[in-house]
């Protein structure tokens, strides 16, 4: 396939306790592209995403085996600074996670945590991030308002802005639009398309039409006969949609299963 791989997994497996839920994931994520991860519920898509920025470390009982390379570095090897890693590989979740502070402080939050304390710099980065997330025009006059007062769609773009403010290299999104109405969904999709090239995006989605609209690459995760998630198809989105190699993918993308 095309492009330079920025993330590469080798024999990646994820367990919760003794239960294996993801097996044999060998993929490469290409720099500057949008990769959509699709598949039925409970097959380990979120778990896959979380093992790319080591967020699984924080889930009780979760265990990751195999290798994940980010820009050639094995992120599970000893001595890796996970905190720094997570600033390079940012994440946005399904439900907007808004902190009980102002709009401004929500976006500034990641910067403050990472030791940026020049208010001038923070102000600039907050505006830049809000612009990137297509939220600036809606909130520029009420940055000090309670972030809870934003609509769900705006809150999700706020979360996006918060992650963008620390200028990640890779952006992981776990079903970021599943709580949003179609208009807000489109806005988020437009933001992602505008970020493409600047950063690498991996998005889990249940919406095939969303995958069609924005994805360069499509990754299909399906449970095998033991109910362990496996990557059954991975390739340029066009190809996977029109000419899948696996029969289950054909059924899935035509809406027969899933």
């Amino acid at each position: 396939m095309g492009g330079r791989p920025i993330i590469k997994t080798v024999g990646l497996r994820v367990f919760y306790g003794d239960r294996k839920i993801l097996d044999d994931v060998d993929i490469e994520i290409y720099e500057g592209s949008i990769t959509a991860v699709i598949g039925p519920s409970g097959t380990g898509k979120s778990s896959l995403l979380r093992s790319l920025n080591r967020l699984n470390d924080l889930i009780p009982g979760a265990r990751v085996e195999g290798r994940v390379y980010y820009r050639g570095m094995d992120i599970y090897s000893e001595g890796v600074n996970v905190y720094y890693l997570r600033t390079r590989i940012g994440m946005v979740f399904q439900k907007p996670v808004v902190f009980p502070t102002s709009i401004y402080e929500n976006v500034a939050f990641g910067l403050r945590i990472n030791g940026v304390d020049d208010e001038e710099v923070i102000r600039g980065r907050v505006e830049e991030a809000l612009r990137q997330a297509a939220l600036w025009d809606e909130v520029r006059d009420r940055l000090d308002d309670d972030a809870y007062n934003l609509s769900t769609g705006q809150q999700q773009r706020l979360c996006l802005a918060r992650t963008l403010a620390i200028r990640p290299d890779v952006l992981l999104l776990d079903e970021p639009t599943s709580y949003l109405d179609p208009r807000s969904t489109r806005k988020v999709e437009d933001v992602l398309l505008s970020l493409k090239g600047m950063m690498t995006i991996v998005i889990v989605t249940h919406s095939l039409s969303q995958a069609r609209r924005i994805a360069d690459y499509l990754l299909v995760v399906m449970p095998d006969e033991d109910n362990v998630g496996r990557v059954i198809e991975y390739g340029p989105a066009e190809e996977v949609f029109n000419n899948p190699r696996d029969e289950r993918t054909r059924e899935y993308v035509s809406g027969l299963i899933g």
Partner: protein, 279 residues
């Protein structure tokens, strides 16, 4: 009469009866105690003659010991709760700790007094001092404070933690930037509840201090002391009418003290609640 209205009357009287009792009690205390309440009484030293007596040493003792106890147990409780919720990984270890905390909450207060005197007073050689009393009271209310704080921290959704970690936060930063500011107001509420218990306790203090009557005001942490509940206890034990009235006056002071300390905690709760906005 149909069953619904019967039920309504029954439940309403369940509410009204204790209110009536409380109201009667309070009016009796005010009736008996208000006339004797004067600055001379509050700021005076105890005397053998009831009409000249005052409660200053006990008042200072109460403020000193309870205030210290609250601060100690709040800090300890916060520390314990954060450790249990954020740093203990093993669910079993955690539930053992929760069990112990629950058990401790059920131990009779006089036992705290005996253990406090034995371990802190005699064992550590701190004697029957303010410090011994304060630390003992602190341990007495520690379960209350800890349970309230643990509840507060557990009610913080995991999604907030994960989101904070995903921005590159360390565990310490998650605690200081998310857990503490969000849990603090509710931990303070738990502490307010604990204050009521601490300030009214007579039994453990009776064991530790043993002083019902003293004219000396505690200054240093190692001074001997008495507290208002002990003075009240001493007075109500006496047959003469006049001591009943003195006890009522002292109870009013105790209630005012309780309201005062609670207000401080509520004010702190309010202002720390505001501080969340800045995280």
């Amino acid at each position: 009469m149909d069953r619904d209205s019967l039920m309504k009357i029954l439940t309403a009287s369940a509410l009204i009866t204790p209110l009536l009792v409380l109201f009667t009690l309070l009016s009796m205390i005010l009736w008996d105690g208000l006339p004797g309440l004067s600055l001379d009484f509050i700021l005076g030293l105890p005397s053998g003659r009831p009409e000249e007596t005052g409660i200053l040493p006990a008042l200072v003792g109460s403020v000193y010991v309870t205030g210290l106890a609250i601060i100690i147990s709040f800090l300890l409780g916060l520390g314990i709760s954060i450790y249990l919720t954020e740093f203990v990984e093993d669910e079993r270890v955690r539930s053992i700790f929760y069990f112990v905390v629950d058990m401790l909450a059920g131990v009779p207060s006089v036992v705290y007094g005996i253990v406090g005197l034995a371990v802190i007073g005699i064992g550590l050689g701190l004697g029957r001092s303010v410090l011994t009393g304060a630390v003992t009271l602190a341990f007495l209310i520690l379960p209350l404070v800890t349970v309230a704080t643990v509840e507060a921290i557990r009610s913080i959704p995991d999604s907030l933690r994960l989101a904070t970690y995903s921005l590159g936060a360390s565990r310490l930063e998650v605690v200081t930037h998310v857990i503490l500011p969000m849990a603090l107001p509710r931990a303070l509420t738990g502490t307010v509840l604990a204050i009521a218990r601490a300030i009214g306790e007579a039994a453990p203090i009776l064991v530790i201090s043993g002083v019902l009557f003293t004219r000396s005001i505690p200054i240093s942490l190692l001074d001997e002391f008495t507290v208002l509940p002990l003075v009240i206890f001493n007075w109500v034990m006496r047959p003469q009418e006049v001591y009943m009235r003195l006890a009522s006056s002292a109870i009013i002071v105790l209630l005012l003290l309780y309201i005062g300390i609670s207000s401080i905690a509520i004010y702190m709760r309010y202002s720390s609640g505001r501080r969340i906005r800045e995280v």
